[in-house]
C-alpha cells in the first residue's frame, strides 16, 4: 500500500480500491449465492468498488452470461442482509458479471479464463489485476491452483498487476494435511498471494476486541495472570446439523469451530499489542500467541478435553432428533457435536490462567461470547457478602447482540451494606445505529486492497492444528459412549467436571 493520496479524505470516505476482476470458482454453489455475490453487490451499493471492475463466475453447469446474471439477481435479492435491493444499481452491477463454464480438472478451462481476463482488462479496464476466490471443496484446491499456475494465471500480464487467491476453510483436516495443502499451494503461489479466509476474524466485534484492548488505557494493565482468574469462550448453536450431516460427520466440532474460529478469537483476546496496526505486525502477534498454547499431552486429554454428541430430546413440546438420527449420518457415528477444551498459554502474561473453550450444536441458545473473569476482591469487608461468588466479569459478546458488559457489585438500596451483582452494558447496535458490514464484505474488500491483516497465515494455521492435534489423536483411538447430552442442554456432564477440577463453573451465557 502506498502513502496518502492528495485526493484522499479518510475522515469522510475510504481509500480507493484498485481496479480488478474477481474470479469465483464454485459460482454455482451455496457460498457464492448466499454470501459472496450479496457482499460484492453491497460493496457496489456503498460505492466501494472501483469503476474498472468485473466478476467472472466459474463452475461446470452450462450457463450464458445472461442466465448467470439472472440467477445471481435472484440470490442477491434474497440473501442481501439488512439493506435494500436497488434495481437500477443491479443493472449497472450485472453488466460487469460474466460466466465461464468448465471443469477444474480440465486444462482448457484455465485458458478460457485467461482469454476472458484479457478481454476484461480491455473492455472493463480491470487493470490486469485478479482476485481468485476458491469457493469449491478443499480437495479441489490443489488441482485448481496447479491449473491456474500451468496457464500462467498466477502472474499478471504486466509487472505492476497483482494476483491474489482466497481459499476457504478447512485448511486441512489435521496437522499433516494442512502442511500438505500448504505445499501444494506454495508450489505455485507465494505466501503473500494466499488469503486464507476465517470469517470470524472479519466480524466487526472481533475487530472491536482490538479497539477495546488497545484503544483504551484502562483495561490492558488488568489483562494478565495477576488479575484474570480464567477466560471462557463459548460458541453455542441451537440448531442441529441442518442437512449438512454427511459433511459434519467427517469434521466435528473441534475441527469445525475450535481449531480455526475459536482459537483465532482466543489469539485476539490474548495476543500482545502489536507495534502498529499493520498486517505483518498483527499476524505476527497472533501467530506468536497460537504458538504459545501449551500442547496437551496424550495422558492429559481425558482431563483437558470433553467430547460430546447430542441425543434425541423434546424441546418446547417438539421432538428433536439425535445426531445419529439425522439424515446422512452413520447411526454409530463417533462425531463430536460438542467439544470443550482447557488451554493454557505459556508466556509471562498468561501462565497458569485456564482458557476454557466450548462449542456445540443443539445447545439451549445461539450465542458466541468471551468472558474474562477477574480475581475476587482479596478481602470481604461487608457483612453478608462472604460466600457470594460473583467476581468481576467482563463479557465481550460477538453474537447475537454485539456488545460488552461488565459485572460488578453494587449496594442494595436501603439500610445496611448488602451487595448485589449488577451489570453495566454497552450495546454496539444501539449505541451506533448504523448497519455494520458483514464479515464477507470486510474481507473481500481487504483482499482487493491487499490488506491481509484479518486473514490467516500458514504459520497460524499450523500452530492452531498443533494445539488440537493431540486431542484429535486420542479421540480418534477412543470409542465413546454416545449420545452423552440431550439436545437443548448445555452439553455433557463431563464438561462441568472438567472445570470443577479447578474449582470453576461454566457460566450461563
Amino acid at each position: 500500500m502506498s502513502g496518502p493520496h492528495p485526493f484522499d479524505d479518510p475522515l469522510r470516505y475510504e481509500r480507493a480500491v484498485p481496479p480488478a476482476a474477481v474470479v469465483i470458482f464454485g459460482a454455482n454453489g451455496d457460498l457464492t449465492k448466499r454470501k459472496l455475490l450479496p457482499s460484492l453487490y453491497r460493496l457496489a451499493y456503498e460505492r466501494r468498488l472501483p469503476a474498472g471492475f468485473a466478476i467472472v463466475g466459474v463452475s461446470r453447469t452450462a450457463m450464458s452470461d445472461e442466465q448467470f446474471r439472472e440467477k445471481m439477481r435472484e440470490s442477491v435479492a434474497k440473501f442481501l442482509e439488512d439493506s435494500p435491493f436497488d434495481a437500477e444499481l443491479w443493472n449497472e452491477f450485472a453488466r460487469g458479471l460474466f460466466y465461464v463454464a468448465g471443469d477444474i480438472a480440465d486444462a482448457g478451462l484455465y485458458n478460457s479464463i485467461a482469454v476472458k481476463l484479457k478481454e476484461l482488462d480491455e473492455a472493463r479496464q480491470t487493470g490486469g489485476n485478479a482476485l481468485f476466490y476458491l469457493s469449491i471443496q478443499p480437495s479441489q484446491y490443489a488441482t485448481t491452483v496447479a491449473g491456474l499456475g500451468a496457464a500462467g494465471l498466477n502472474h499478471g500480464p504486466r509487472p505492476e498487476c497483482w494476483r491474489r487467491f482466497i481459499i476457504e476453510k478447512p485448511f486441512g483436516h489435521d496437522e499433516a494435511s494442512a502442511k500438505e495443502l500448504s505445499r501444494d499451494l506454495r508450489a505455485v503461489l507465494d505466501e503473500n498471494q494466499i488469503y486464507r479466509i476465517d470469517h470470524y476474524l472479519g466480524k466487526e466485534t472481533v475487530q472491536n476486541i482490538l479497539a477495546f484492548r488497545f484503544g483504551n488505557g484502562i483495561f490492558e494493565p488488568l489483562w494478565n495472570r495477576r488479575y484474570v482468574a480464567q477466560v471462557q469462550i463459548t460458541a453455542a448453536e441451537s440448531i442441529g446439523v441442518e442437512g449438512r450431516g454427511a459433511y459434519y460427520q467427517e469434521a466435528g466440532a473441534l475441527r469445525d469451530m475450535i481449531q480455526n474460529h475459536l482459537l483465532q478469537v482466543m489469539s485476539t483476546i490474548a495476543m500482545e499489542p502489536p507495534a502498529v496496526y499493520e498486517p505483518t505486525a498483527v499476524r505476527d502477534e497472533r501467530a506468536k500467541l497460537l504458538r504459545s498454547i501449551l500442547a496437551v499431552k496424550p495422558e492429559q486429554v481425558a482431563t483437558h478435553a470433553v467430547k460430546g454428541q447430542y441425543g434425541p430430546s423434546r424441546i418446547g413440546g417438539a421432538a428433536v432428533a439425535g445426531f445419529r438420527q439425522e439424515p446422512g449420518v452413520d447411526p454409530q457415528a463417533q462425531t463430536d457435536t460438542y467439544a470443550a477444551v482447557t488451554m493454557f498459554v505459556e508466556n509471562w502474561r498468561w501462565a497458569g490462567v485456564p482458557f476454557y473453550i466450548r462449542t456445540g450444536k443443539r445447545l439451549p441458545k445461539r450465542v458466541t461470547d468471551i468472558a474474562i473473569q477477574f480475581n475476587q476482591a482479596p478481602l470481604s469487608i461487608f457483612e453478608g457478602e462472604s460466600g457470594q461468588t460473583w467476581p468481576n466479569l467482563l463479557v465481550v459478546r460477538i453474537q447475537p447482540e454485539e456488545g460488552i458488559s461488565l459485572r460488578f457489585f453494587s449496594k442494595l438500596p436501603g439500610s445496611g451494606m448488602k451487595l448485589r451483582p449488577v451489570t453495566m452494558d454497552f450495546n454496539y447496535g444501539t449505541s451506533f445505529g448504523t448497519r455494520t458490514p458483514t464479515a464477507y464484505e470486510t474481507l473481500l474488500l481487504d483482499a482487493l486492497e491487499g490488506d491481509a491483516t484479518l486473514y490467516t497465515r500458514q504459520d497460524m494455521v499450523e500452530a492452531s492444528w498443533a494445539a488440537v492435534q493431540p486431542i484429535l489423536n486420542v479421540w480418534g483411538e477412543t470409542k465413546f459412549d454416545f449420545p452423552n447430552y440431550a439436545a437443548g442442554s448445555w452439553g455433557p456432564a463431563a464438561s462441568e467436571e472438567m472445570l470443577a477440577r479447578r474449582g470453576h463453573v461454566w457460566r450461563v451465557p
Binding site: F7, L11, R12
Partner: protein, 318 residues
C-alpha cells in the same frame, strides 16, 4: 418566567423514573453528546423533529432546540424521545429540551445551556440558517460547542455566503458546512478515479450545475480539485428535485486522459475514455448530512483548505 437548568434536569429525571416503572422489558439510556439546534421561531417543527429523530439512532444525544423569535420571554420544557429498535427488546430513549427566546432575551440563555450540557461529552451546534448563525447575539451560544454546523446551500450563490462562512471559521470552534458534505460523494468518486489513474493533481476540471448562482457545493469541489485550469458554469437554470443536489457534472483531465461524472436521475454516469459505468448516489437529507458531519469531530483539514480556496475559484472568474 425564570428558566432553571436544575428544574429541567429534574423533569427529565422524573420522566426516566416514570418510564422505568412502566411495564415491559427495560429502557436504555443512550447519550454520546449534547446537540444544540438553533432555529428561527417559524421553522417547521415537524420537519425538524423528523431529522432529529433520525440522527438520534446513530448519534444518541441530549438535544437542546433553541428557537429564536423577535420578542418574548425565555421558556423551556423537557421530554424524552423513545423508540424501539427493529427486532429489539429494549426501548432506547434520548432527552430533548426546547427553549424559546428572543434576540433581547438571548443573553439569559447561555448560563441555562451550561447547566444542561451533558458532562464530559462533546457539544455540537447545528444552525442550518447561516444568517442566524452569524448573529453576534448568538456568539456566546456557539462558543459552548467544539463543532458548529451550518448549511450554506440555502444561499443560492456562494458569493453571498462566503463572508459569513469566513467569519465563522476563525473562532474557537470548528466550522462545518453541510454544503461540503453535499459534495462528498462527488469527491469520493473523483478520488477513486484519480487514484486508479495514478493522478496526484489535475490539469483541468469543468464543473456544471443546475439553478442560478454558484452552488456552494460546486465551488467547494472546484477549490478541492484545485486544477491548473478550472471551468465553472451553469448547465440549466432549472432547480433539481429535492435531495439530488445541484452539481450536474464534474470532468477532470490529467496526463492526457479525462474522466467525467454526470448526474443522471438519482444516479451518476461515469465515463473513462470508452468505459461507461454508473453508480447510485444516496439522496441528500439533512439527517444523512448531519450523520456524516457528526462522524468528524477533529480537525477537518480538507474542508479548511477548500473553504480557503473558494475565493481563488471566484477570482479566477466563473
Amino acid at each position: 418566567m425564570e428558566v432553571d437548568a436544575g428544574r429541567l434536569l429534574k423533569e427529565l429525571d422524573e420522566n426516566w423514573r416514570q418510564l422505568g416503572k412502566g411495564e415491559g422489558s427495560g429502557v436504555l439510556r443512550a447519550c454520546a453528546m449534547t446537540l444544540i439546534v438553533l432555529v428561527r421561531e417559524g421553522a417547521d417543527a415537524q420537519e425538524l423533529g423528523v431529522t432529529l429523530a433520525d440522527i438520534m439512532h446513530e448519534h444518541p444525544n441530549r438535544t437542546i432546540v433553541l428557537r429564536v423569535g423577535e420578542v418574548g420571554e425565555v421558556v423551556a420544557r423537557a421530554n424524552l424521545q423513545c423508540w424501539m429498535p427493529f427486532g429489539g427488546r429494549q426501548q432506547i430513549c434520548c432527552e430533548q429540551i426546547e427553549i424559546s427566546a428572543s434576540l433581547e432575551t438571548l443573553g439569559a440563555v447561555p448560563p441555562v445551556l451550561f447547566g444542561l450540557m451533558v458532562a464530559d461529552l462533546p457539544v455540537a451546534v447545528w444552525c442550518p440558517d447561516l444568517e442566524l448563525a452569524d448573529l453576534p447575539e448568538l456568539r456566546p451560544v456557539l462558543k459552548l460547542a467544539s463543532k458548529v454546523m451550518v448549511d450554506s446551500s440555502a444561499t443560492l450563490d456562494i458569493r453571498e455566503a462566503l463572508p459569513a462562512l469566513q467569519r465563522l471559521s476563525t473562532e474557537s470552534w470548528r466550522l462545518a458546512d453541510l454544503a461540503w458534505a453535499r459534495a462528498t460523494r462527488w469527491r469520493e468518486t473523483v478520488a477513486q478515479l484519480a487514484c486508479t489513474e495514478g493522478w496526484s493533481k489535475a490539469d483541468e476540471a469543468e464543473i456544471t450545475w443546475a439553478g442560478e448562482g454558484i452552488p456552494p457545493a460546486a465551488a467547494y469541489v472546484g477549490a478541492w480539485i484545485n486544477p491548473g485550469r478550472l471551468v465553472m458554469k451553469c448547465d440549466t437554470p432549472e432547480m433539481p428535485a429535492a435531495g439530488v443536489g445541484r452539481i450536474k457534472s464534474v470532468c477532470v483531465t490529467a496526463k492526457g486522459r479525462q474522466v467525467c461524472l454526470r448526474r443522471e436521475g438519482t444516479g451518476v454516469a461515469i465515463e473513462i475514455e470508452r468505459l461507461r459505468t454508473g453508480m447510485v448516489f444516496p439522496l441528500l437529507t439533512d439527517a444523512a448530512l448531519l450523520h456524516e458531519e457528526l462522524g468528524v469531530f477533529g480537525q477537518d483539514s480538507q474542508y479548511e483548505r477548500a473553504l480557503a480556496g473558494v475565493q481563488g475559484v471566484l477570482d479566477a472568474g466563473v
